[in-house]
Amino acid sequence: MPSPLTRPPLSASQPDTGGRRLPRTLHPMAWWIWALALATAVSRTNNPLLLFLVIAVLGYVVTARRTEAPWARGFKYYLYLALVVVAIRVVFRAVFATGITPNDHFLFALPRVPTPDWYAGIEIGGPVSLEAVLSAATDGLRIACMLCCIGAANTLANPKRALRVLPGALYELGVAVTVSLSVAPQLVQSVQRVHRARRLRAARTKGLDALRGIVVPVLEDALERSLRLAAAMDSRGYGRAGTATRNSRRITGALMLSGMCGLCAGAYGLLDATAPRILGLPAMAAGAVLCVAGLRLGGRRVTRTTYRPDPWRFDEWAVAGCGVLSAVVLFGNAGFNAAELNPSLYPLSWPTLPPVPAAAILLAGAAGFLSPPPQAPTPPTVTPQRTEAAT
């Protein structure tokens, strides 16, 4: 994948200036590979020590290598979201009781809600043990960690720039995401605006009527904005036909669709042991081939160039590599006891810190200094307009 992206840098800049590396933005794909690999590694373990280590590593890399751009300020929201995930997990475990055993450490009891006989498999309420809370918390922490990995990727790499790396045939998809990425924050703003304005009419702020009073103006606003954005994109040349004909466009669509179906069926076949054999690898391979063919064909029809393409150099290999390596180590099961990745809380015991996985996670943190420093933030200049007006 990266090989076609390796282009000579436009500005033939020396990689080294006076001992310090030249600040530049890392290729967004490198960050995404790094983060997704780390998320994959996280999916393997339930060990709270390793998970906290991952969060610390993410925090370090993000603080060291994020830019000052607007999308790069969002990591703390992912951390909040992570806390919410853990909290939800714990609350669910407490409410949908999974039972307490005599050996458990009783914490508190919730009132039990009687369930009908036909629903006897699920209990609501009842005693809650420390073990249950802790295991729910570690389980939630694992999901939260994966979420933070995605958050780190979003913070370190511009999402819209990352989308540009998509092959040409998926360009429409990328643009659809771009439009939603642009309109979504505006949607939040207009919800706030309309909600505030409702008080001016002394309209009810709760209930179905209020919902309608907010949804109708907000949706009208969003629809108009989307249309205006689409019109603006059209008049700026988006989607100019290349050499493709209507026929080749159809073939591309058919190839992509059947390829995706093949991939889905293949994944199902591989994951479900009861599925027929034919569904597994063969379907997966066929799907992949169809998709690649579709992408190739579709890539020919969109003609566009990239402003300041990101080069793929040693730094990119290093960052992506150390992420992938940590995933490989955690899935490799070599040099450590697999049980240590998922310590049981029944009975309660201290988690261990298996050295090899811990080292692998720390290695992923090396991305914090293997990557080049980000572009220095533009000095906070007083906007010219303000200086003019101040005189």
Partner: protein, 313 residues
């Protein structure tokens, strides 16, 4: 950020310590383990666990009623592990202190017990009420199911479908259940000898009168098909069907040479497991926690330095 993480870690540490000091809380359960001889055709519940997947025998032990399937499986040296996702109620691993030092199966290499195990490899739960000779796939979890006196609970590892029509046990309830009507062997568990190998009900040995209800236990003299339940279609075995016609008497044959084994080869030995002390549990050392906390602090400090430097720039 990492500051808050370490703070959280520090806050957790003493909490965990305090909990660890509390030790095992008082057990108020009425259920208690019994030597196998205490189970009769009409009292006590028999627990059987099939370790044949890992080359072990089928263990059976006895517990008093009222009890739950979970309690039966967590007393007298038995211990289970739940999953991280579903909690202890989902039986993911089973171990017996008298078998390979209490090692729980499946081992972590085979299943990490984080998510719900796949339907193709998990501990399935089967019941046979007193006098029944067909297995019934449990519709309830171990914590909710209450074994009746004289019944047999069986855990086998493998795959089933939701109706329990596939992956049925090869061993029959009658091969496992108590035959005696009166408790035998004294009330004291053989504490010093946690296990003793007992041949399954030897043929011809009188284990007491048969269950009084509908059928007589036939003397296993013929080499009948060893597991009729595996061969007889069991439509709607979900419903607690009245005892099937006793005409073809199921007969536990000891040297089961039949090839019909599906989940558990009936060649697996049935071994009585006497109540035993719990396997030693080591609550571990808190050193790794401290070490991890230290690492997090160091990384956090590095992040702080990086943040400070970029602010200075």
């Amino acid at each position: 950020m990492s500051g808050s993480v370490t703070r959280a870690a520090h806050a957790l540490a003493p909490l965990g310590m305090a909990i660890a000091l509390l030790g095992g809380s008082a057990t108020t359960a009425s259920a208690a383990p019994q030597p196998m001889g205490q189970c009769t055709t009409s009292s006590g519940a028999v627990l059987a666990v099939d370790f044949s997947k890992w080359g072990g025998p089928i263990y059976r032990s006895c517990g008093t009623t009222p009890t739950t399937g979970y309690e039966l499986l967590n007393q007298g040296g038995w211990r289970t592990t739940g999953t991280g996702h579903d909690g202890p109620a989902f039986i993911c691993r089973i171990g017996y202190s008298g078998h390979r030092g209490g090692k729980q199966f499946p081992p972590p290499e085979q299943d990490d017990c984080v998510l719900t195990p796949p339907a193709s490899a998990y501990w399935s739960y089967w019941h046979a009420d007193a006098g029944e000779n067909t297995w019934e796939y449990s519709q309830l979890g171990a914590m909710l199911y209450k074994p009746k006196p004289g019944s047999v609970d069986l855990w086998i590892f493998g795959g089933t479908d939701i109706e329990g029509t596939r992956g049925r046990p090869a061993v029959t309830p009658d091969q496992l259940r108590a035959r005696n009507t009166q408790p035998t062997g004294g009330g004291r568990p053989a504490g010093s000898k946690p296990t003793r190998q007992v041949q399954p009900p030897p043929p011809g040995v009188d284990t007491g009168p048969a269950p009084t209800r509908t059928r007589t236990v036939p003397a296993p003299t013929r080499k009948a098909p060893p597991s009729p339940s595996a061969t007889t279609p069991a439509p709607a075995s979900v419903s607690p069907s009245p005892p099937a016609s006793p005409a073809p008497p199921p007969s536990p044959s000891i040297p089961a040479t039949s090839p019909a084994a599906v989940a558990a080869p009936s060649s697996a030995k049935v071994v009585d497991a006497a109540p035993a002390a719990d396997a030693e549990h080591d609550s571990g050392s808190f050193v790794p926690v401290v070490a991890a906390g230290g690492l997090v602090v160091v990384i956090g400090a590095a992040a702080a330095v990086a943040a400070k430097r970029r602010r200075a720039e």
